[in-house]
Subunit: 787 residues, 2 copies
């Protein structure tokens, strides 16, 4: 903990805690608008089929049904997470000629209540002509495989063109179902391997998992034809993304799409993008002239609201005898499902989050994404990092074992340090990896425990992960406004949104600290596109480093204005004034002071009515550069990365193959924790999520159909599986973050998964190359060469 | 009309028109909050009585009643329109020891519905001991008259002390019921009269009238004990005033009292201050833990929601033979009723609005206010100006008649001109009086019509009035924020509120004009204390000159930021760029251009995420000076006054005494009309209101009881009495107003009343010295010396 702060660094309770505990907090599902209709969506029962005919007449005839729509009516509007000249958007709100996965949207209804809407769905008659489907990405890449997409002709202006890249979008043809390719390198990979003492190659397989947020996806939309304005209450992570895509798909100017403040009940990446149901609610509202709400079912969340990315990773690493990593070649096969989803992004990020960890002088990263007739994949907490960590951190352990070096020592030898510049130009202004490994080793008594597993089926393992703190993605920066009130309190306007990550509290703390006020003195207006200045929102882990720093700068601007007026009132130079507890005093004579309230009044009275309003903005790196510089291992992102060193301790039942995660220790570098309680919560939640990922989670499909679309069948880690959790701070400080803060919410999950995998290997003396580490796989590994 | 504007000066339809016409617009009475209770107030049936005992037990026992409160519980909390060290607040939310007028608040209830609340009121048993009352102000001033108030000990910090005047409030003793005194002068009054060729003295009597806004007074209050925060939806004219007084009386910090945006259905000054019911709704919400709404009845609006000020005016004026005014002595007796109301302010303003009209070198203004046991008086459109105009403009006509000068000529000789500096230091940056008189004379064929009345009972008369454009009252200035959106539109944040005056449209026009956008491109966020920067609000006629100029400055700030970024994009100096239709182009080559949308994106991309947010603030005069400088005829207010020259044409039925106002012509100086349609509406509404004031309106009391508390018994001018209306612009331009604009909403009413009075005198050849000009008075005047 850094000394000298009053509000920052304190484990203050959440500012949104009370309204959530009392049930007063409004989520999108709580919205009850006058005359509101309820929307429901008819979905494809087939993984791949032509739509021969849709007859909606019986549904339309049902009393209480106000609208029934199909893809024919809506037309070829397209949207996607990625929409670039290279990769034009490939999703439709409603399928037009064919359906591509089980659950694909086919028709939608708006009715006076949910039961009527559900009954209407049953009355829609769709005639399908099933066609051959493909479910395996390697099969999909073969000549002659069923084609999931025909040529995709961009029908809307390319999003990235809007954002300033003036390259025309071209029709996209998915030859052999290839939806994405990526190829980046630096150094000389061949020379690297040639100069290695030991080269190792392994294949790892990662399944799709669910985000499992407690709130399902919800949207309430109200279109006002008089004003030409769309008001929306929606489960989201970024106001900017939802606003942009609603504007684009509906043809309503951005400023006429208002996303209103409401809480989002967990996202983990799963609520970033536009969903069909978001568009459909808005479309149905415009069509019917009434507000329309769509609440997805848990089944829909599992099948249609995206999954984490499936990967096959071929990983080849070359090292010197002493453990120095010399070269690495990553080959990815990504299966994003029936639409591209975030495939181009996750392929890029899969390496982005590894590069800051280890110095690897020669490196190549190649990947291909293949459409299949399966549910679609999108970011999930770490977006590519957990998959790559599972592979690369296990392989490191295997290399260490081969070389006879302690895996912690091997990591210490190769990890990056503060001040290093990455191949893309990003500089690590702070990096707590070395400290983190050292402290984690000490805290866990690593050296005593490591390598003893084979005698008692207990194991200990380590995993490392990194995560950027915001990036230059999209033209969104973070900005904030701070208005001083007549009673000396401050109102903070931020475009960040609270989806459980704690931004309301943390941003308020930052404003309070900078202004010398208490948390109670900050009134927060956030999460509303109309009321707040633009902000990138809650993804890219931009909360503290970007939004937080924008808030700090806005508060600093306001404080400077206060100081100038106080200087006049106290007849003392600004440099001789001190700010504390909402008062400004003369340093040499602290009894001479004025309150903020006095200063604000004086400013209004004597400065021609000037109220005190401060502005702040921030963008992590200044360059306007959208496309990855392939020769530098990608474009710049930020100068601040968060780091996690996780150590997991497990035991394994050799008879049942069941793994228990006993303890997770995390030495993290999130810079100065703005709120240690929130940091603890973020890390603990990732430890628990990591246990689930490592041991249970997989969305299982059979012929494209999700077999476990409920919490009965899809197990997440519960209180029974929650391990003992130890948090070891690294006392880091990010010089450009607000009060030294940076990323904390996304990094650790990847490290925990890897640590558990390595701990299981330590316990059983054998490797498992795919997730989850089911009892079956453990028993198989034990049989094939384990303890 | 000034050429060269695109949006300003155009008769654009109101931006709030559609939601009002469709019924979508929310007024306070439309607020339906979950679990909301309904409040009602028990009022005194006596004009003056001691409260012996209140038994609330039967009311409390009624099912559905959630709270019953009396003055004993609330205690001696006091509030008022005026609360200074000299004049401490004298109103209680609920009477404690005695009631002072019929309607005084005695108890309040909150119940699950209005019927239950009404029934609960009937079950409250109050034992009164009636005591002698006084109803006539001159009687009240006599020794031995019943005392309406005992010593008033200030119980809360004086409001003005909060606002920076650090004088302690003293107990106030109303000797002989004197609640206010005023005495101001400049020049030498005795010398002035001594040097006059003709001196005339008259007494005029002005009754109380009602504001007659169509919406009754409403408040919905919701106190959140978790957050310590009060949310309020309320009929109001100024967010700042309601917020301040709710904060002060309830002991909640200003920033924790949020007034939410809702429309107010007309105010005319009648909804400025805090009312008991406002406080009581908030108090009852805090007490019950549920939202509480109070909707006043029309009866309550008439008896308890304030009236215009009653005046007895003794006016003495001395002139030279040629009509030059040399001296004027004004003596006022004001009867504000049972509480001081705005007495100190109206006594000050009664002359403030006359000084800018005529050059009068020697002048004295004295006044006394006397408590009586009658309903309380407050500002009404013009606040003192209509009363004084009725007196002074009639007396000018009588002087003109005596001197044999055309009254229009007499006025032309004496009216002030652009550039003149008033005794208090205010400079008339624009003054259209001369032009106005000349054009009105021409437009009405004045010279042909004037003085012919006695033959056909038709008459024509003129009246002049002035009104400031905002003032330095309170520490409130006007401020605004303009945020540019990614689609090139702009969001405007203003603390002004829409109460029918048209500010939403006009402020949006100003922002659009400054930014080179259309009205549709402006998104307005206004009328909410939490979302908007501080603004004085809708009184003091500050809308255009203060709030409007703040908006213009905020837009100009944003435009300058756009120009700087565009200059970089176009590689051209800012001075060589032109702004038009949301685009910035190079002057010498207009085809080289960028859109605002491009510029905003570029700013965010290339300026470290800088969004375009502009700020503006304004205060009409810079001085910090609260108390009138008595030797200068008062403190400074502003450099911009609005002026009206009204000409009325009437006929009189000599048999019935009934007056018909046939035509009203107004030559007004509101500077450049921002929206001519709105200016027309403001002036027409004042012509109609003036007809009502002149002919019908008087709240009649008998033994303190209002005899006509309904629209059945209190007649306002209807469509049948609406005269032909002609608006003659004076093509004025206020150099410091936004695009030349200034005051338009308050001035004309006073001029119209005076013009009608003078026209009636012209028609019947006799004077009536009191309002309204009822048939009885007309017949009496005719009999006593008329035609």
């Amino acid at each position: 903990m850094i000394a000298g702060y009053s509000v920052v660094g304190k484990p203050l309770p959440r500012v949104d805690g009370k309204v959530k505990v009392t049930g007063e907090g409004k989520f999108a599902a709580d919205m009850m608008l006058a005359n509101m209709l309820h929307g429901k969506i008819l979905r494809s029962p087939h993984p791949h089929a032509r739509i021969v005919k849709i007859d909606t007449s019986k549904a339309e005839a049902l009393p209480g049904v106000k609208a029934v729509i199909t893809g024919k009516e809506i037309g070829p509007i397209r949207f996607a997470f990625v929409d670039t000249p290279r990769y034009p958007a490939d999703q439709y709100p409603l399928a037009i000629e064919k359906v591509r996965y089980v659950g694909d949207e086919v028709a939608a209804v708006a009715a006076v209540d949910e039961i009527t809407a559900a009954e209407a769905l049953e009355r829609i008659e769709v005639e399908y002509e099933p066609i051959p489907a493909v479910f395996d990405p390697e099969e999909a890449l073969k000549d002659g495989a069923p084609k999931v997409h025909d040529e995709i002709v961009p029908t809307t202006t390319c999003a990235w063109e809007d954002w300033g890249v003036n390259k025309p979008a071209r029709p996209f043809k998915a030859v052999n179902n290839i939806c994405t390719t990526v190829s980046m390198a630096y150094g000389d990979i061949d020379k690297g391997f040639a100069g290695s003492d030991y080269v190792r190659e392994d294949r790892f397989v990662l399944p799709a998992t669910a985000h499992a947020a407690i709130e399902p996806h919800v949207v309430a939309a109200s279109y006002d034809s008089n004003a030409g304005k769309l008001d929306v209450w929606i489960s989201h992570m970024s106001l900017a993304v939802k606003q942009y895509w609603l504007s684009k798909t509906l043809g309503i100017p951005v400023s006429k799409v208002r996303i209103h403040t409401c809480f989002t009940g967990g996202s983990f990446g799963g609520k970033i993008e536009l969903f069909s149901h978001d568009f459909l609610a808005a479309y149905l509202s415009r069509k019917t002239g009434r507000p329309v709400k769509i609440v997805t079912s848990r089944h829909e969340v599992f099948t249609n609201c995206r999954l984490s990315h499936r990967f096959i990773i071929d990983l080849k690493t070359g090292v010197k005898k002493d453990g120095t990593i010399v070269a690495q070649h990553v080959k990815l096969i990504n299966d994003p499902g029936a639409y591209r989803g975030s495939s181009p992004v996750v392929m890029l990020l899969a390496h982005t989050f590894r590069i800051p960890l280890y110095r690897i002088p020669n490196w190549k990263h190649e990947g291909v994404g293949a459409y299949t007739n399966k549910p679609v994949c999108m970011p999930k907490r770490g977006h590519g990092s957990p998959q790559m960590s599972f592979a690369a951190e296990q392989q490191l352990d295997m290399i260490a074992e081969h070389l006879g070096i302690d895996p912690a020592e091997l990591r210490l030898k190769n990890v990056r340090k503060t001040g290093e510049v990455l191949p893309n130009g990003d500089r690590l202004d702070s990096c707590g990896l070395t400290t983190g490994i050292e402290r984690a080793v000490k805290a866990t008594k690593w050296k005593e425990k490591r390598g003893r597993g084979r005698s008692n089926y207990r194991g200990i393992g380590m995993g490392l992960a990194a995560m950027f703190s915001g990036s230059m993605y999209y033209p969104f920066s973070s900005s904030a406004i701070v208005k001083l009130n007549l009673d000396g309190t401050a109102t903070l306007y931020s475009g960040q949104s609270e989806f459980g990550q704690g931004c309301s509290t943390v941003l308020s703390q930052i404003a309070a600290e900078e202004l010398g006020l208490t948390l109670d003195d900050i009134i927060l207006v956030a999460g509303d596109t109309e009321l707040c200045p633009p902000d990138i929102g809650g993804f890219l882990s931009a909360g503290v480093y970007c939004s937080g720093e924008a808030v700090r700068r806005a508060a600093a601007d306001a404080k400077q204005q206060l100081l100038v007026v106080a200087s006049e009132m106290l007849e003392e130079n600004v440099d001789n004034l001190r700010v504390s507890s909402g008062r400004i005093s003369v340093m040499r004579a602290p009894e001479i002071e004025v309150s903020y309230a006095d200063v604000v009044r004086h400013s209004i009275q004597s400065h021609n009515g000037d109220p005190v309003v401060g502005k702040g903005h921030v963008k992590p790196v200044p360059e306007v550069e959208f496309y990855p510089s392939l020769s530098k291992g990608g474009a710049r992102f930020t100068n601040a990365y968060g780091f996690t060193v996780a150590v997991a301790e497990v035991n394994v039942n050799p008879d049942t193959g069941k793994v228990n995660v006993l303890k997770v220790t995390i030495a993290d570098d999130c810079g100065q924790p703005i709120n240690p309680k929130n940091v603890h919560g973020q890390l603990l939640s990732q430890a628990i999520m990591g246990v689930g990922d490592a041991l249970f989670e997989e969305v299982v499909t059979k012929e494209g159909r999700v077999m476990n679309p409920s919490f009965d069948d899809y197990k997440i880690a519960s209180v029974y599986e929650t391990p003992e959790f130890v948090h070891v701070p690294t006392d880091s400080f990010e010089p450009k973050g607000p009060f030294g803060g940076k990323e904390v919410g996304e990094c650790a999950r990847a490290a925990v998964i890897a640590a558990i995998a390595n701990a299981v290997a330590d316990a059983i003396g054998a490797r498992i190359y795919s997730l989850p580490l089911t009892p079956e796989k453990v028993l198989e590994a034990l049989e094939s060469g384990g303890n």
